[in-house]
Symmetry: C2
Subunit: 437 residues, 2 copies
Amino acid sequence: MQGILSRLQREHQGSNVMSARNAFYAQSGGVTAVINATACGVIETARKYPNKIANVYAGRNGIIGALTEDMIDTNKESASAIAALMYTPGGAFGSARYKLRGIEENRAEYERLIDVFKAHDIGYFFYNGGNDSMDTAHKVSQISRSMGYPVTCLGVPKTVDNDLPVTDNCPGFGSVAKYIAVSTQEAALDVLSMAKTSTKVFILEVMGRHAGWIAAAGGLAGKNREDAPHIILFPEIPFRKREFLKRVRECVNQYDFCVIVVSEGTRYKNGKFLAETGTRDAFGHPQLGGVAVVVANMVRENLGYKFHYAIADYLQRSARHIASDVDVRQAYAVGKAAVQYALLGKTAIMPVIKRISDRPYRWKIESAPLGRIANKEKLLPRRYITRDGFGITAAARRYLEPLIKGENYPPYINGLPKIAKLRYRPVKPRIGKKFVV
Amino acid sequence: MQGILSRLQREHQGSNVMSARNAFYAQSGGVTAVINATACGVIETARKYPNKIANVYAGRNGIIGALTEDMIDTNKESASAIAALMYTPGGAFGSARYKLRGIEENRAEYERLIDVFKAHDIGYFFYNGGNDSMDTAHKVSQISRSMGYPVTCLGVPKTVDNDLPVTDNCPGFGSVAKYIAVSTQEAALDVLSMAKTSTKVFILEVMGRHAGWIAAAGGLAGKNREDAPHIILFPEIPFRKREFLKRVRECVNQYDFCVIVVSEGTRYKNGKFLAETGTRDAFGHPQLGGVAVVVANMVRENLGYKFHYAIADYLQRSARHIASDVDVRQAYAVGKAAVQYALLGKTAIMPVIKRISDRPYRWKIESAPLGRIANKEKLLPRRYITRDGFGITAAARRYLEPLIKGENYPPYINGLPKIAKLRYRPVKPRIGKKFVV
C-alpha cells in the first residue's frame, strides 16, 4: 500500500482544482466483531483527502439507508468517536439483510439508489459485506454507468464465514476463529477435570453456514489425537452417524471424555441439515435449537453418556473482547485500501488480503474485480480435513494459526468494554419523496 | 491478613522443634475459571512453611483421590508450574461431583478417609468447593476427632453460583459475572445493528442453579430502561408468561429489539422449571436443551418475532480469558488464608470475603465456622430485583460492579492462552488395599 499512498499524496497535493464529492458507506449482512474497524478505516482515510472526499455518509441500516434517504453524517462525529469504532463490536451504523434483486425484476430500486446518490453528490460507494453485497456493489457499478451517473463502487470484505473467494481470508473471521479456539480449549479443561464423575461429552455448536472454516478453528485448541476437540463435524463432510458414534465411544474409553465442535451447517449425505431432523415438540412444531441439540440427543440415545452443550451463536461473532490483533488490523486495512483504490479511480473491485508467507506471517492488500468474487463461496478444502473427516490437518493449522494471533483488547470502564458513542446526526433529505423497501 | 502473617512468621521461626505434617487439598463440584488460583494460593503458601507443612497432596478427581489413595505429589511440581495455575481454568487436579453421605449411612467411607490420612501423615484437609463440600469438610472434622485422629479441616470457597452464605461473594462468581455482562453487551450491539431486517429477540441462557446471581450480572451490560438486557428472568421470581410476553412486545415496539437473559433455574409459580415443560421429541423423549429453547418457542408461538439464542454453558465458567481481576485475587487470597488459619490451629472454618466498602471497593478475609455455611443457599435478595421482576436495582449494581472490575489476562502463545503443564507425579500408595467408590 505504500506505493498507493505516496502516489495519492502526490495527486492530492496537485488536486485543489478538482471538486470534492461525497462517499456513501454501508454495512451489510451479519455483523462481526471488527466490521466497525473497517468503517474506521474508511472514514479516517477519507478524512485525509478532503479535497477529494467531502463527507462520508453512512447508510442507516445498510443499503436501506440509501434507498430511504436515511443517512448519517459522519463529518459530525469527532475524531475520537470514529477512533473508538476500532474496538466497538456490532454494526455501528446498522446493517441489513437486504439483497437488491436483478435489475429486470426491480429497476425502481436501482434508479432510486442512483437518484439518492445524485441528489447528495455521492461519487463513491463503499459496500462492506459478504458474497451477496459484492454482487450488489458490482451491479450498482454497472447500472450507474448505464444511467449516465457513474459511481466509483468498491466492495469491502467482511464475513465471519471466511467464504469469499480470491482473498486469502476475510476480516471478521480471525476474531471468531480466536473466540472458538480459546473457548474450546477452556471448556475442554473444564470437562476433562470433571469427567470422572460428571459430563463425558461436550458439544460446541459454531456458525459458518455452508463453510467449515469456523469449525476448523476449533481444532486449533488441541495438537495431538488425545487433545480436545476430539471430533469436528464439518459441513463439507457428509455426516455418518455410525462412524461418529464409534469415535465418540472410543474417545470416552481412551481419554475419559470427548469434546465435539459441530458446524451449524453439518448435513447428511442427502444434503439434509442435521438441525432439521424432523423432531418435533409436543405441539407438533419442528424442534428448535441447533444441531448441538440433535447431536446431544444422538449421543444420549445411543451411548447414554452424560453430556452438556453450548451454543455460542451471536456471542462468537460479537466477541470483540477477545478479537485477534491480526484481524483488527486487516479489517482496518481493507477499509483504508478501499478509499485509496477509489481515489486512484479504480472501480468495481474489492481489496483482498494476499498472504506472502505463513511463518512469519506476512500479508499485503491487493485488489480483485468484483465479478470474480460476487456470489461465489469458498469452502474448506478437503486437504485441510484429516482423512477420517473428524479433524484438521497440518496444512489447515498453517493457514489458520496466523489469523488468530495477537490480542487486541478494548479499553474497559468499570469492568466493561468501552464502546463508541456516536451522535448519529442525519443527513438532511434532498429528495423527500418516500421510498418503501 | 497482615496480622495473621506476622504472627505465623514469629511462630514459624520458633517452630523447628515441631515436626511437619502433610496437607491434603481437593477440588470439589463444578469447576470455575479461577479455582486453580485458589490451588495456587494453598500450595504457594504451604511451601512457605516447610517446617509445618511438608507436602501438599492433591486428590486426583477431588475427594475420590483420597478414598482411592490416588493423590498427586505437588512437591514434584516446579514453582513456575504452580504459578501458572493462576491463569489456568478448569480443575487442574480433577474435581468430582461426589458427596460423602451421612456417617450412619456410610461409616466405611469416613473410616477409609481417616485411614488414608493416617497412612500419609495428613494433618490438614483443605476442601475447595461449594455448599456440599463445606458440609463434608465439617463432617470430616468431627469424625476425625471422634476417631482419635484429629485433622485440621478447612473449607475453601468456590462456586460460580455465588450462593454460599456468610461470605460477601464467592471466588469464581466474579469471573462468570464479567463474562456474562461483557457477552450480553457485545451480543446486544450485534442484535441492535441488525434488528431492522433480522433478529428482534435474543435470548442468553446462563447458569446459577436456584440463585439468580449470574443472571443479575447480565444486567450490568445496560444502565437505562432502553438498554439491553431488557428482561432478566430470575429463579427467585416466579415466571409469569403473560407479563413476560407483554414486556417483549413493548421492547420490540419501543426499541426495535429485545434482549433477554434467562437463568437456567427459572420456574413457574408451582415450582416447575421452565426447562421441563413436558415438550418431547419425535421419539417421545423429554426435549433437551435448556430454558432458552423454551423461551424462544414461547416468543415464536405468541409473537412471531425472529429470534436467536445462545447457551453459554461451560464457556461461561471456564472463560479465564476474560476473568475479573478482583476475582482472581480473591480466589488466591482464600487459598492463602486457609493455610494461614490452619497453621494457627483453626479448624472447621472457611475463609470468607468481607466487604469493607463499595466505592472504592475494599475487602478483607475473615473466617466463619463451617456449621454456619454448610448446606445453606444464599439467593438473590428481593431488593436486588426491580419491582416488575425483570431487572436489577441500583443496590444490585453497587454489589455486583466491584466484582467484575479489572481484567486479569492470561499470557498467550500463538494466539491461545498458556496453561499450566503439571507433571502429576503420584504419591506412592501406603495402604494398597483397593477401595471402590
